[in-house]
């Protein structure tokens, strides 16, 4: 048996079932035309398959009561339906029972628990941490300057992007950085801390 015969025999089942790609189908057909041994092999496959199909078709002719099967199936489904209808009531009872048990055990737990201490009854606690230590460098200093409008730079100050320069608002190009620097140097005056009135002066004013 040649290598070609082996290949063809490997794909005979697919060939007879018309399940091969067209090119392969043609190749097998051509080989079968020339090779008697492979034709015999194909014949054996066909016979086995025909026997299977014949047996199936013969079974189809056996007496078979469709109506009886229909009734049996519907009766079985009705049983299923009845079970399904009964199930929610059963499940509902189970859930009510479980909820009652849970409630009762929660009540018992509450009754057996020691009385809770109110937050007002507790002793005051001292604040801890470096920000609470007097003289610490981390101590927060109050801001004494004028109110500052916090907005993203360039949003509406003429700084940053525009349709003309292709940048979005708040985006600074290389040239615009120096523009911002000039603006800061010229216009931005750091607020001076306001003088705190002396207690003696306050008393005199009164």
């Amino acid at each position: 048996m040649s290598g070609r015969c082996e290949d063809v025999r490997g794909s005979l089942a697919g060939y007879l079932g018309d399940e091969l790609p067209t090119a392969q189908l043609e190749a097998v057909r051509e080989h079968l035309h020339d090779c008697a041994a492979c034709r015999g092999e194909a014949g054996a496959y066909l016979q086995a398959r025909k026997a299977l199909q014949r047996a199936a078709m013969d079974a189809l002719e056996e007496p078979f009561d469709d109506d009886e099967l229909h009734e049996r199936i519907l009766a079985r489904v009705a049983l299923e339906q009845a079970r399904e209808d009964a199930q929610p009531r059963w499940a509902q009872r189970l859930m009510v029972g479980a909820a009652a048990v849970l409630l009762a055990s929660f009540g018992f737990w509450l009754a057996g628990r020691p009385p809770a201490m109110s937050i007002w009854d507790r002793p005051p606690t001292q604040p801890s941490g470096p920000e609470h230590v007097v003289g610490s460098p981390l101590q927060a200093l109050p801001y004494v300057g004028p109110p500052v409008d916090l907005r993203p730079v360039g949003l509406d100050d003429g700084i940053g992007g525009s349709a003309a320069n292709g940048f979005g608002p708040g985006m600074l190009g290389r040239g615009q950085r120096s523009e911002l620097r000039d603006l800061v140097n010229e216009d931005l005056v750091l607020p001076q801390p306001a003088e705190q009135p002396q207690p003696a002066e306050q008393q005199q004013q009164r």
Binding site: A13, G14, Y15, L16, G17, D18, E19, L25, R29, L32, H33, R39, A42, G43, A44, Y45, L46, Q47, A48, R49, K50, A51, L52, Q53, R54, A55, A56, M57, D58, A59, L60, E61, E62, P63, F64, D66, D67, L69, H70, R72, I73, L74, R76, V77, L79, E80, Q81, E84
Partner: protein, 227 residues
């Protein structure tokens, strides 16, 4: 000019050999008129019948049963090999269908989903109780009581051959048997078989190939020895 090969697998011949899909379908005779109309209405899809059944109507589900009961029975029969077992499997398949109707995916075909239910039940059944069709006393009695008489009854040789076929089929593993039944008897393509058995197309083709090889070798051994 090249002569057509006697083994040419023309589509028409394949369809004629593999029992056409219609051979395994059909409606029962005694159906209530409402159910019959729904079942026969080709414009009414299976998905629409499912939708109406879920809305609480009884007739659409009965129409689904009428449409598919014969196919369910025959697929089950060809896998489990016994009439009574096939009836049980088809009943159980419809009960399971009813239970899981709400989970039907409308974007997929109904028959693929339903065939999967039938096939799973049939394969489970087969694995639990190995079929004994050929030696079944019940089937022998059915054959003896055939009301068609001797004229219509198949010749003895044919009956013996059929019994051999079922015995050979029984020797195959359920996964090969399932593909063989769906392809060579029910005429489904491997593309249709793959989603039913939840396998890839390549696996379906491979199982078919192996199934046919095994069937043929068992068949030759059994039938050759007999002759």
């Amino acid at each position: 000019m090249q002569q057509p090969s006697p083994f040419s697998p023309s589509a028409a011949r394949v369809r004629a050999e593999a029992g056409s899909k219609d051979a395994w379908s059909g409606l029962p005779n005694r159906l209530p008129s409402g159910v019959r109309e729904l079942a026969r209405d080709t414009a009414l899809s299976d998905a629409e019948l499912v939708r109406r059944s879920l809305a609480g109507q009884h007739d659409p589900f009965a129409a689904l049963v009428a449409r598919y009961q014969r196919r369910a029975f025959w697929i089950a029969y060809h896998v489990v090999g016994r009439v009574e077992d096939a009836r049980d499997v088809s009943q159980e398949a419809f009960a399971r269908l009813y239970r899981s109707l709400a989970r039907f995916d409308y974007s997929r075909s109904f028959y693929t989903w339903f065939y999967r239910i039938v096939m799973n039940l049939a394969i489970d059944h087969l694995r639990k109780h190995r079929s004994a069709r050929a030696s079944s006393l019940d089937d022998l009695l059915v054959a003896l009581e055939d009301p068609r008489g001797d004229e219509a009854a198949a010749p003895l040789e044919r009956q013996e051959e059929n019994a051999q076929v079922w015995q050979v089929l029984e020797k195959l593993d359920a996964k090969f048997r399932a593909v063989l039944v769906l392809r060579d008897i029910h005429g489904l393509s491997c593309r249709e078989i793959a989603p039913i058995l939840k396998i890839t197309h390549a696996t379906a083709r491979w199982r078919l190939h192996r199934g046919r090889q095994m069937f043929r070798s068992h068949w030759e051994r059994a039938y050759g020895d007999d002759e």
